[in-house]
Amino acid sequence: MESSFDETTISFETQPSDYRHIRLSVNGATARIELDFHEDGLRPGYQLKLNSYDLGVDIELADAVQRLRFEHPEVGAVLITSALDGVFSSGANIFMLGLSTHAHKVNFCKYTNETRLYIEDASEFSGQRYIAGLNGIASGGGYELPMACEEIYLVDDRRSAVSLPEVPFLGVLPGTGGLTRLVDKRKVRRDLADVFSTLAEGIKGKRAVEWGLVDGIYPTSRFADEVDNRLKEAAQDADSTLKGISLDALNPKLDAETGSLQYRHVSLKVNRQERVATLRLTVPSGMTDLPSSVGDLGADWFALRAFRELDDAILRLRFHYPEVGLVLIETKGDAQDMLSLDAAMDDRKDDWFVRETLLFMKRVMKRIDCTARSFFAIIDEGSCFTGSLFELALAADRIYMLEEEGVQVEWNASNHGAFPMANGLTRLQTRFLADPAHVGKLSTMSGPIDTDSANELGLVTVSADDIDWEDEVRLAIEERVSLSPDSLTGMEANLRFAGPETMETKIFGRLSAWQNWIFQRPNAVGPSGALSLYGQPASPEFDYNRT
């Protein structure tokens, strides 16, 4: 039965010396992430046995992946393996799922999905190739994690198998992209995938290779060496001259009474009663030019710091502020500062640190796309929706813009490719799916755009002059927060991702939606549901009618 737990105790910040579940070690061009999950999870009521995980584990994993990119750019390949004998990971902890609220389950799934995608992003764009060394059984989420790696090796000991037992065991789905990656990424034949996904005990040895579930098998005596060789090979293109930066803690100030958060560049003002929060990013004035070694800027560099803060605020929104239904996005600052920052970044985009920062900004924006809150961008006096920050407006469900002298937006090259969405398109391309030529036209324009022109160009949802502005915005807010939060979540997710499907959109859209549905159904969570009765003495009873 789900039980209450103070979600605000969850922190998304950690560092290797605080890890309780994984061990990160770097050795020249290669790194290892060893899974050794401590039995105590985020909250009492379950034990993380057999390397089963909860959100706390995934926060460490995400931190390790992020730190490897920023702190260890010299690393070219990363091995994920287990410190346990005979077990790689047995996936998400089922008792944890049983205790968690629906919101926690969904956000947990979403977060783990994002971490898996970040691993793929690192393999694809950061030259850090992930290899999974399965030295024991990998089931459910414990196999989904390896599927996010470029290569999977499984020990051939006649015992260790990979499996997705969610359907036969729990009456739910492999919720971290398992089914999608099976057929979309690993391209396992659909009928074999069907057999595999209903086979609780999974598949081991030669057949796992034949079916494409893993890339190779080695006997126990050779396993560690072979995987190590493969890791070193994969790290061949690493650049040992690169020096990382260190990521410090963000430590926002929390106003205990209101719940508002103040970071260096970002603030989250919360109005719990109205169920509205204002997320504001402020561009500091007088940013200096980029030094010859950009890495010298370190974690204090505005571009990195501000987006780390934004990321943390979004995660806290998801878990700490379930009652907040609408987020107003505001930016403040001088457009010129943003334009020169963007131009300098574009100029130096081959520098590893600039590249990583841009990739990170992309991920944060995607995190916003995937957050189940309504977002309204508020563009008024002093706003700085310029260049890469204009992307934040484009990420919003609606854009409100004040008709007034000096209120403006401006885009640049960064809005035409630096920050693709999950569907592979830019936010402008997705916005103007009906008229690609219009996007082309926008790309040839430069300079500030006032409210009238922005309106004409289709960049504004509602504009109002100073007389109507306050009422217009207030009414929109009040109306929005009065609607059913569930239907809004579904509606927004449907409207945000027009255009082509990618593996990523399928994972979030298709799989998560199904998972959410199944997670609510009596066959899973009813009194006789498979998930409710997991580990219980009684067997589940299904309503066998299909939809």
Binding site: A200, E201, Q536, A538
Partner: protein, 479 residues
């Protein structure tokens, strides 16, 4: 070789069962290969006085004669079918027993059978070197008897895999002959079956304690709703009784010999006379008993609940009409105390989740009666020493007690105290080396090694002084 009832005694209609024939044509020669590679080393050409089951009738299940082990007729026997048998427990109690594997329980049944099956060849592999240090011809014969019957148990379980699990079953059957006890790359499934049994005291402990776990596992499977499994395991139990006899009387004979040697010395130090001290025997008991407890699995187990609900695995004596009244077990709990967050805490385990514990309880009772017999010897000799069974929580690697240390009386102890206590509780390397030093073969007709007493009687009304093994290459010395 053609597969027929001539070479494979059976009551499963082998001659007209094409599916089974097809499977066995491939498997049987590989089994023989395995037996020659991994069976008892050095004695395959000798004539051994062995019991063979040739039918399930009481006249046929124990046929004694000399046979070379590779020519042993490993058969496939199921206890005769009772067409009216119903499911005796769990959610489907009262419905007819299953003659086929229900699809929804395929994986659980396969897992139960594969895990049980794997222990059979494993123990043969563990014991393959023991022939060289046999304390007598009688004991050597018993060892080989146990070995060939474990081989037959492999057959019995493989038959289920072949007959009821299709291609998967054939693959699992093949894997049974591929895994090797203690092999790094391809070990046996259960850890206890991966270390060699290389002295005879360990062999007696194995047959006394580990094989006895097998008895209770088989007994629990004999209750299964899957009728062929029930019938196969019921027949295996008849053979298993002899293995337990070997262990029980083996240790009893050690006790009796030690008593004799103790009487010969003022200081009772039997090591001076090449005997096995009671303290050392106790350490072996502690080690083997606790390791065997681990084989039952966790005291609080969701798997055990699934097995019981579905009717796959019951309790020992579930349906004998005497032991249990409530066969649904949904409303009752078992209390068990273990250390949690630094305190000995009581836990209420729903009965279905506590089925491993129930089985372990039956097992403990069974062990206790053997202990009583040995202690009787001590009592009759006027000695105050007694042997005991360590508590459930002692030295556990599996289950709710595995995360904390407990002494032999079940008291929680700090890890350091446990480590120092082990000197007293568990055999040290020196202890094992001492036992090994006693292991010299004794092949003289009717004679026994110094550390063990002769049995009360021979096999099948033959005298103790009887050539139970006839060597093709060495002489059995006449007394």
């Amino acid at each position: 070789m053609a597969i027929s009832s001539d070479i494979i005694p059976n009551n499963v209609d082998l001659d007209s069962n094409r599916k089974l024939q097809k499977a066995l044509v491939a498997w049987q020669p590989r089994f023989l290969e395995w037996w020659n590679d991994m069976g008892p080393r050095g004695y395959q050409q000798d004539m051994v006085y062995l019991r063979t089951a040739v039918s399930v009738e009481s006249s046929g299940w124990a046929h004694y004669d000399y046979v070379r082990m590779p020519e042993y007729r490993w058969g496939i026997f199921l206890t005769p079918n009772d067409p009216n048998r119903t499911i005796g427990f769990g959610d489907q109690m009262g419905k007819p027993a299953w003659q086929q594997v229900p699809g929804e329980y395929r994986k659980e049944l396969r897992r139960l059978i594969v895990t049980q099956c794997d222990t059979e060849p494993a123990s043969v592999e563990q014991q393959r070197l023991l022939g060289d240090t046999a304390p007598s011809l009688y004991d050597m014969r018993n060892l080989f008897q146990v070995n060939v019957e474990e081989g037959r148990h492999l057959w019995a379980m493989v038959h289920l895999l072949h007959e009821y699990f299709g291609r998967d079953g054939r693959e699992e059957a093949e894997d049974m002959l591929m895994r090797r006890s203690g092999d790094v790359d391809s070990p046996r499934i259960l850890e206890a079956f991966n270390k060699p049994i290389d002295d005879w005291l360990a062999f007696f402990c194995f047959t006394m304690f580990t094989d006895r776990d097998g008895k209770f596992q088989l007994g629990a499977l004999a209750e299964s709703a899957f009728d062929p499994l029930s019938r196969a395991t019921r027949f295996m139990l008849t053979e298993e009784a002899h293995h337990l006899f070997v262990g029980d009387t083996g240790i009893g004979r050690v006790v009796r010999r030690t008593i004799e040697l103790m009487a010969q010395r003022e200081d009772r130090d039997v090591t001076q006379l090449g005997g096995i001290p009671l303290t050392l025997l106790q350490k072996y008991i502690n080690e083997w008993y606790s390791a065997s407890m681990d084989l039952f699995g966790s005291e609080d187990s969701s798997n055990s609940a699934t097995y019981f609900s579905a009717g796959l695995k019951g309790r020992f004596g579930e349906t004998n009409g005497k032991t249990y009244e409530d066969h649904v077990a949904l409303e009752t709990y078992r209390d068990l105390k273990w250390m949690e967050e630094g305190r000995l805490t009581n836990h209420e385990i729903p009965m279905r989740r506590a089925m491993n514990l129930e089985l372990a309880d039956s097992y403990r009772k069974d062990c206790s009666s053997a202990l009583n017999r040995w202690n009787k010897f001590l009592e009759e000799a006027g000695l105050a020493d007694r042997l005991y069974l360590p508590e459930l929580s002692f030295n556990r690697k599996v289950g709710v007690f595995s995360e904390h240390d407990y002494d032999v009386s079940g008291n929680p102890v700090a890890h350091n105290d446990f480590a120092s206590g082990c000197v007293e509780w568990l055999p040290s390397e020196a202890d094992k080396a001492y036992v090994k030093s006693l292991m010299v073969p004794c092949l003289e007709l009717g004679k026994f090694a110094n550390w063990i007493a002769p049995p009360r009687k021979g096999i099948q009304s033959n005298p103790i002084e009887f050539p139970y093994v006839q060597f093709h290459d060495k002489q059995t010395t006449e007394a």
